[in-house]
Structures are given as structure tokens and as C-alpha cells.
Amino acid sequence: MRRGYAPPVLAVPAVLGLALLVVPLAALVGRIDPGTLWQDVTSPEALSALRLSLVTGLTATAVCTVLGVPLALMIARAGSRSAAVLRAIVTVPLVLPPMVGGVALLFLFGRTGWLGGLGIQLPFTTTAVVIAQTFVALPFLVLAVEGALRTSGVAYERTAAGLGAGRWTILWRVTLPLAAPGLVSGIVLCFARAVGEFGATALFAGNAPGVTQTMPLAIYTAFNGAGVSQSAAVALSLLLLVTAIAVLLLVRAWRPGRALA
């Protein structure tokens, strides 16, 4: 039997769960005032938050890629025991409340922190936003890429080496193209997580409009009755929702063979 043997009554909690996921989002869309939507999205505060989110999100994604792909490669090619340890370390920021990450970053870069004491003053700057986003988004990229690298294995690399290719040639022409599906989904998830980051940013980078106030912070501020209006908050939320759906479609629509052909 193709559908298996699950008791039909399980459909009730299943549908409830689905509703819990979908209905709030529907409620959000329902609150949109079409008359002011464009105006809200293009208000100076909203545009500034949007621009900041894009710039920091893309920068954090670039940093994650540059640091995360080599880290993923290291884990994928490590022995099973050290790989398990490394993977656990990478997973910690994923399961940690982002607030805790923000506090930790403050203790490292803050006035009395390890690096802060050396004169490196990062908190409450745009750089701090990027660091906070990198901290929470890096695990997504590393785990996705590591899985792809582990799956593709070293057999093709060995073949390439046997044909006389050097290590860099093998990396660019064999290893990374073979891991491309994981790489793309890792980068996309990483970007989505970076753009949506709130907790670590709020604590570590603060909420200064134009400097550290990204879209999630702008939304939060709006609902607290300061800065952008509530309707702008709804519009920005919708923008984040659309971004999330676009990201998902991008990951799903991507087919390795076709995209590389």
C-alpha cells in the first residue's frame, strides 16, 4: 500500500499543525493595507532598514562562504571521530538562543572583553551586525556544504589527481562543482538566516537607525511604537516573508545537472 499504514485519525493533529504554521502568516497578509503598502515599504526608515539588511546580509553570506566552505571541507575529510566533534561545535550556535550569542559576542568585543580590551571597538557598528549575522548563519552553510562534500567523497578527486590535476585545480574543477547543490542551498539558507537575524544583533549591535537597525529590528521597533509606523512594520514583515518563500523556491527549483549544463 503506497500510503502506508498510519492511522487515519492522525490527520487531525497533522492538519492542526499545518494550520498553526499557515494561519498566522495569513493573518499577517490580511493586515496589509494595499492603499499604503507601497508608501510604507518606500518610507525612508523602511528603505534604510531594507538597504542595511541587504548589505549586511550579503556581506555576512560572503564571509560565511569564505570561512565556511574550507571549514566544511575540513570536517568532511576528517576522520569520523574528529568530524563528529567538529560538527557538534558548529551546531552549537544553531541550537543556542541568538540572545546568548549576542551576549557572548559582547564579552569578546565589548569594552571589557578579550578583544575589546585590546582597543578593538566593534559593538553598535554595522560591522557588529555582520559579525552577529555570521555567527548565527555560518552553521547553516557549513552543515549543508559538509553533507554534500561527504556524499560526493574523494573518488573523483582521486581520479582527477591521477590525471595530473593539482590540488587547487581539483578543488575548483571537481570538488566544488560536485558539491554545488549543497553549496547553493547552504548559501541561500545562510542568507535567509542572516537577513532574519534579530537577537544577537539587538544585543551586540544595538538598534541605531541607518547603522544597525536591520529589518527585523525595524519591525520590532515599530511594534514598540517608535520610529517606523506599524503599517510599515507589517509591510516589512511581508517583505521578509516574500524573501523567505523566494529562497525556498530557489533551493527547490535548483537542479544540479540542468543548472550546470
Binding site: Y156, L163, L178
Partner: protein, 350 residues
């Protein structure tokens, strides 16, 4: 190389590899343009030898020389092709063949042109745009052969390249490879490969060379039961006596008795003959006895036990006598002189 015959170009290796309880100690040479086949039972060390030559497996003693120079690690002049074609799935056939050239900084256009030439040479003209998953297993292996040879390696190492193909496809690829193969060391379990490709056959067992020579000679004068088995021959050890051969209770002569007469009485002499040449007749109580009768494609094969538990196989056509033989039956064994080859057990130098 332990003794003389220093080959200035081509491949020359004398290597020892220790992997746990397994020890490989093999000297092998391939002059330019020469193809050397390596045969041996499973676990004899064929793949270890090729891996060591290719630099994939560390060598514990000895050295691999390519064109007279000692190479260590991955030797750029040697390319290894295994059972699986392992075409890069993200590249089309042309880019796969061009891969080694591109890695050697050959400009893209030139590498692609060379790749197209090689695809034509392995019987796949115009298939450069095909992706690996659009090619059959045999076509993939042809592309892999082209990819290995396109870099003009000093020698190509093939590790059972036809094993994963069905017999008909294997025969086609075998013919293609024969056309294009240059200096090469080929590990195979199929004597047909050795006869088709190799100038010389090296047989290794338990990590050591047990017989070497022109492929046909080695297969016609097997030095060990394994070689006799792959050659499909009966091989019985005996002694020379008055220009005849005696062993296991049999006495045989060969048409070419020169070898037998040249050997002193009592010296070791091996008799080799095809199972199809053996004539059986019902015998009396003592002597050879049938131990097993099994059907073959063309008829039947009778296994006979001779003196000293030596086994012999005799083939017969279907129909005639098929039911005449049964286990336990005493038989007389005769082999016509023209079918028997007598030779001193091959001794390897050094």
C-alpha cells in the same frame, strides 16, 4: 630492476609493498609502446601493484622509474584507469577528456580539439556534448580510456578496465583499446585481454612474479595451476625418461620431443594439454577413476583422478558418450602426441 637490461625510457619498477600480512615484491618493465598484462588470482596483488605504480599506494622499498627518472608519489607521467570509468558527472564527454590537458594548462580550444580527436579514436565521434549519464557503460569506459590517453602519459595503468562491462560490450571496448593503447600495464583476469593487448604477460601470485613471457607462450606453458586454469589446460608435473614424460601414472609423448629429449632422465618436466584432446576409454579396476561429470555448453567435462590425487579434465561433445561416464568408473587415459606440450618448469631469473 635487479639485473641488467636498464631501460632508458618507458616504465621500469622494482617495488616492495607491505600491507599488514600481505607482501608484494614485483619487478616489472614496459618499454615504450609495449603493453604488459598482469594476471593473477584474486588477492595476488594486481591492484596493489598498479596502485603502487600510480603513486596511490606508498611503496616500502624499491622505486618506480619513468623514462629513467625515479618518481615518487603521484607520477605525472602515469595515469591509472580503474574498473569504474568515473567520468566527472558535471562535465560532458569532451570536457572529461580535456580535463587532464586543461590541468596541464593546455589552452581551452586546443584541449577541446584534442579531446574531440580522442573521442573519434575511441569510436565516439561527435559525442563530445553528451553528459556521462547519457552514455552507456561501454561508452563511458571508452571516454575514460580517451581521457587517460589524451594526456599522452609515459604509461597508462589499467586495472581490470573491462570487468564492469557485459561480455559483448567488453569485446567492443577491448578492440577499441587495442587500437589506441601505447605503453601500458594492464591488470586483468581475462586471458583474452592479455592476448589482445599485451606483448608480454606477467603472472603474479601471493605478491610475487611466478611466470613471465609472451602472453601466448605463458598461457601455452603454464608454470602454475592458476595459469593452467586461466589457459584452460591440463597441467601435470612429471619427469623425463627416455624422451618421454611420466607422471601421475601416465606416460605421454609429444610430437615435438626436442624439449623432452634435451632434459636428462629424471629431471622435472611438465606436460600441458587441452581437455578436449584427452581420450577416455572404460578401464579396468585399477588406475584412473572418474570423480565428477559435469555438463558444459558444448557437451560434458569429466574430471579424472590420477595417481597421487592428481586431477585431469577431459571434454567431450554433447550426445556421443554423454551418458557413458559416471563417477567412480575406472578409465584409461590417452592423449595424442600432437596435442601434448612438454616443457621444463619455467624458472624465473633472479
Amino acid at each position: 630492476m635487479s639485473t641488467g637490461g636498464a631501460i632508458p625510457v618507458g616504465l621500469a619498477a622494482d617495488i616492495g609493498v607491505v600491507r599488514g600480512p600481505f607482501r608484494l615484491r614485483v619487478a616489472i618493465e614496459a618499454a615504450p609502446g609495449e603493453t604488459v598484462a598482469v594476471m593473477g588470482p584474486s588477492g595476488a596483488g594486481k591492484s596493489t601493484l598498479l596502485g603502487a605504480l600510480a603513486g596511490m599506494i606508498p611503496i616500502d622499498s624499491g622505486a618506480v622509474r619513468v623514462d629513467g627518472r625515479v618518481v615518487t608519489g603521484r607520477a605525472p607521467g602515469l595515469v591509472l584507469l580503474g574498473q569504474e570509468p568515473r567520468l566527472f558527472p558535471h562535465l560532458d564527454a569532451r570536457e572529461n577528456v580535456a580535463f587532464g590537458l586543461r590541468a596541464r594548462r593546455v589552452p581551452r580550444a586546443a584541449a577541446r580539439a584534442t579531446a574531440d580527436e580522442w573521442l573519434a579514436r575511441v569510436g565516439l565521434p561527435g559525442r563530445g556534448d553528451a553528459r556521462p549519464d547519457e552514455l552507456s557503460g561501454g561508452q563511458q569506459q571508452r571516454v575514460a580510456v580517451a581521457r587517460a590517453l589524451a594526456t599522452k602519459p609515459a604509461a597508462v595503468l589499467l586495472d581490470e578496465p573491462l570487468t564492469s562491462l557485459d561480455p559483448e560490450t567488453a569485446a567492443e571496448v577491448r578492440a577499441t583499446v587495442r587500437e589506441v593503447l601505447g605503453t601500458a600495464v594492464v591488470a586483468t583476469h581475462d586471458p583474452v585481454d592479455a592476448l589482445a593487448w599485451a606483448n608480454r604477460l606477467v603472472v603474479i601470485e601471493h605478491g610475487e612474479v611466478v611466470q613471465t613471457g609472451p602472453a601466448r607462450d605463458v598461457l601455452r606453458m603454464p608454470a602454475t595451476p592458476y595459469v593452467a586454469a586461466i589457459a584452460g589446460l591440463n597441467r601435470i608435473e612429471g619427469v623425463a625418461r627416455g624422451g618421454r614424460w611420466r607422471g601421475a601414472g601416465l606416460e605421454l609423448t609429444a610430437q615435438d620431443t626436442a624439449s623432452a629429449s634435451a632434459v636428462a632422465d629424471g629431471a622435472a618436466l611438465v606436460a600441458a594439454f587441452s581437455p578436449g584432446a584427452v581420450r577416455l576409454e572404460p578401464g579396468d579396476g585399477a588406475g584412473p577413476r572418474i570423480v565428477r561429470v559435469e555438463p558444459t555448453v558444448m557437451g560434458w567435462r569429466v574430471h579424472v583422478e590420477l595417481e597421487g590425487a592428481v586431477r585431469l579434465a577431459a571434454d567431450g561433445p554433447a550426445g556421443r558418450d554423454a551418458g557413458a561416464w559416471h563417477p567412480g568408473m575406472p578409465v584409461r587415459v590417452a592423449v595424442p602426441a600432437e596435442a601434448v606440450r612438454l616443457y621444463a618448469p619455467p624458472r624465473l631469473d633472479g
